[in-house]
Symmetry: D2
Subunit: 347 residues, 4 copies
């Protein structure tokens, strides 16, 4: 089969012919039709310090996808929840099921997690083998949407964590694809006011399309002052920090209300100076670090949001490429103007 | 001033001239413009066993209202949160502030609660005195809506209690006014599917207007079977039991999913046979009894829902009367065809 | 190997020679050393209506046990969490891992649960095969305690569910073995006052041994009045209903404080009349039905309680028999004077 | 009456004769018998930048105290919860009751909080006037303990926030008085392992007296490595950061388990570099800033812990002085060897 492979240490990836994956008793084989290209894939393409420390080439890249079930292992078939022909997507974190975190319902923090497309072969390929328990039926969700439920789930996790969103005033800092999905998720979950901030006008436009009531240009607007103005001087009940920049952290802590919450998903590349006394302790703030998707509460809510029409991530998709144009896909992501970029793999 | 007074034990009420209420330091005086007529007022009119055991005539009736602040006590003024001319509504449960429940944030269960229009003079009058801490500014909410935020709050309390509503499948049993408000509150809070059931076609029509995705005629449809069908055979995540009938309880327990929740607001007039083993223990259900409105979490979310346009209870209002036509108001409520009934009191 | 088998429909069980169980890739084989005899085993022995409707003989009985790992399937070995020689116990509910409940962290309510000793071969035998993910290492916990962690876990689940137990006043109704374990679990979890009630003086003595501050004889004491007296007239914050009797339900609802909680584990054999208005709605009570043990939060807390010495269930063990004296074990349970009864199986 | 007064900007305090405070309708007058000296009082004594920016002399100092009710305002008397002769303590944060935080049950974060001894006259005096709703009866708790329930409450708030403590492994960083109280509170709440770290051997000894299972000398021991060793390599479920030092923050984030929680009470005087990616996001940590005491959940649990004997803060008291020896009290606190320091004021 064809696959996009990091063949050896160093930048780039190559389309290669590789053997079709084998499946174990608990696995299913999926013919991939659509895949999402993620910032992580950019890091892998560029072979930055994180990528070179973690990946062991050769490895098939790609962790966001949808496709069609074409074969089931014996146990997966016996479970009778999936069958050949089902259109599906999958959680890309394959977890051990035995560690403290897995046992306590925090499997997204499993210490032995293997991520497809990073730690084992991934989804930029004609076929992928997945444990049946990671597979989610689309049940009418369009395949293109299925391909981006992994990052949409990151957003849903960020928005839903820790307090009732219904009736809340939410600030989303950073309107890359996951920030835009967070805007849509906050609206779906009944937020009363969603404010989005970014430096890029194109991204703010996407945020508005996804339902932001107000968008702020962090380069021109005084974000904290505007948030206070829009919230009866309270500040935001929930801040979703999706930028990963120290400036985003500072804004998040200042814009959150007394007793508010800051959920952090944007991954910083360097450290941030924090005045814990002023910004966290005297404000009674709660901070929470978002990794992956809750397995599987996040998926369950997300599927319902999408199937009911409450959340439609498609407006964020700005580019579609065939698999062999991965270089172009990487290029538009690097350029910063793209929303979500999709690879169209199967027919 | 004019007021609707239960002058003595026995059925009926009378419009009378009574002295304008005096206010203490912590109180505000409100000129009433609109008031809601509640099932409780019907019980008081009819002088049933509950009413005769609890009320000590003479007492001015009415606990749902909105109006305009016309005077403030010294401490209420000093708090600087309200001023003359503010349009307001109020929580009608006046609580002690000192008991265990008040101290633990469960003031809606204060054991010394005094309810206006029941235990002390109420709102079917030109003026009412209220503790400033019970008063909520309308901030642009229409006065007519302000007059029914008490029962809307009952619905919001019922819907929001205990688990994330976002993405849930909710069954509302009983589509009187509070049931209809619950339908709207569930939609506002991000429920993915709202099913409403009642025996009365007119009420089901109101429920649809408030956003029910599906309405079921409990006299004709097999409610439990239909709920399963509509929820991938899971059952409802949350059931709001607003009917108070043993048949409603049976449906609630059977229609809730394994691990689901039944919030009970409808007040039964008699006891129900419960098979705890089958219906509660083996199903892992949670049941919760709803009294009043959480003070003041419920009010805060409700105000935001209404101000943002997520929840508009007005379609449920079917009748409006001047205060001296209370007998007509009581009559349409008794007849069972009314949604919410409003008294127009002030100019 | 030897096993206690329900060989055919009808009362009794027999010690038989049966083949040693085979293990799959994800399983481990355990040599059983100790097992607990449960009320469920009594129902199976007597072949009551529940047992005759559910069991398909021949089936090896027994679901509470501890033992030593003697073999591992390939995947179980690869997980590297268990090895030959480990002393272990196990969760006896084998769940599907795919249904809504399993996906949401409510696997104890899995709709396809198979219970060992009921739906598949159990633990009153020289050996048992178990999925590795159900197995828990004892890590120094005595084997006899390991054999009763299933019912102890029922008690821990009942006590910990839904609100902070620390500082609470807890009433335990019914002091059979699980009620007595609940007394100990409430003490371990920081309850400030634990009151236990039963009709049987011997059981109340066991409850005192497990740490009850006060025991009440439900046949002589006015339980509700005494609870009020002992709680500054508030009532109990948490009631654990372990009796399954309608009288226990009535006491539970009356003894719980306004805003309190009643967790129900005792399985009634008939229905109860409930005055929802008086007992649940106006009191703002929460009721919760307890099935099994949370997988695996309950196990994790229980293991820590036991390993740290906070909870020691051993005083509840009153009888020990070899496997072939099952008839005597059943007899002492039926008689009502026993605490927990253990079968000593292996060396 | 006598009082310790900050008479003018600048270091020190003076014992002066000042008028006995007047009480309003909602207030009670309390004859102070015991008071606690706090780090905050040291800042006020030394007139550091925080103190000089916040205090408006002349002001009576002191916010931790106990005493006897000697008079009640009309409304306070009418509430019938307090009477002359009651031994009491009080929450020293006087809140507005009207802001968003007060309305949502987060009054400890009220934006108009007035702290006694800081923003209005305090408790180092023969008498103090307090709103009745802030006053808590001792009900048998020794007066000396009553005088330090304010800081004990800080510790209880820190320990109880956010997850079930029962069965947890807790690390307390910093064993000043509040850290030592946190050790005791964690034990009372059912923690299975309490580890305490500090640089000072005397403080570690106090922590052991309060129930720490293990104490670590942060100057010699590798705290993070030792915590992992003691927790099956998991890390701590809950870290209570009481030191306020950047080194304490670094230890807290590193010692918390994946999915763990860090509650921060120690007030840093400078900022901390945080690697949010490594320490918060990839670990899925929750951080929470602790201000004051939850009003009044914290008080309720604390009162029960103390009355039941689960928590006894007295071993932490190392010094007692009469009011006119405030300079000596300040001196021993500055010196760093003291536990809790008490002023004995009344007879």
């Amino acid at each position: 089969m064809r696959a996009l492979v990091k063949t050896a240490p160093g930048p780039g990836m190559q389309v290669q012919d590789v053997p079709k994956p084998k499946i174990g008793d608990a696995d299913v084989l999926i013919r991939v039709t659509h895949a999402g290209v993620c910032g992580t894939d950019l890091h892998i393409w560029e072979w930055d310090s994180w990528a070179s420390a973690r990946l062991k080439p050769p490895v098939v890249i790609g962790h966001e996808f949808s496709g069609e079930v074409v074969a089931l292992g014996a146990d997966a078939a016996a479970a009778e929840l999936l069958q050949v022909g089902d259109l599906v997507t999958a959680e890309g974190h394959i977890v051990c099921g035995h560690c403290l975190q897995c046992r306590l319902g925090e499997a997204h923090l499993c210490r032995r997690t293997q991520i497809i497309g990073v730690d084992r072969d991934g989804a930029f390929a004609d076929f992928i083998a997945m444990p049946a328990s990671n597979v989610m039926k689309l049940d009418g969700i369009p395949a293109e949407v299925g391909a981006i439920m992994d990052p949409t789930g990151n957003a849903v996790h960020t928005v839903l964590e820790g307090r009732m969103v219904a009736g809340s005033r939410v600030l989303v800092i950073g309107c890359g694809p996951i920030g835009c999905f967070a805007v849509g998720a906050a609206r779906a979950a009944g937020a009363s006011l969603v404010i989005a901030s970014d430096l890029n006008a194109r991204r703010l436009e996407l945020a508005r399309t996804m339902g932001a009531h107000v968008t702020l240009d962090a380069g021109k607007d005084d974000v904290v002052a505007r948030v206070r103005e829009l919230t009866d001087d309270d500040g935001a009940d929930l801040v979703c920090e999706m930028s990963g920049h120290p400036a985003g952290h500072a804004t998040a802590f200042a814009a959150a209300r007394l007793g508010g919450r800051v959920n952090l998903l944007g991954t910083p590349s360097r450290s941030t100076e924090v005045d814990f006394a002023r910004d966290v302790i005297f404000k009674g703030l709660t901070l929470y670090g978002v990794t992956g998707r809750r397995m599987y509460d996040t998926w369950d809510v997300m599927r319902r949001f999408i199937r009911s029409g409450q959340l439609d991530p498609r407006p964020v998709i700005t580019h579609r490429f065939p698999m062999d144009r991965i270089a172009d896909a990487i290029e538009v992501i690097k350029h910063g103007e793209a929303g979500k970029v999709i690879l169209e793999i199967g027919g």
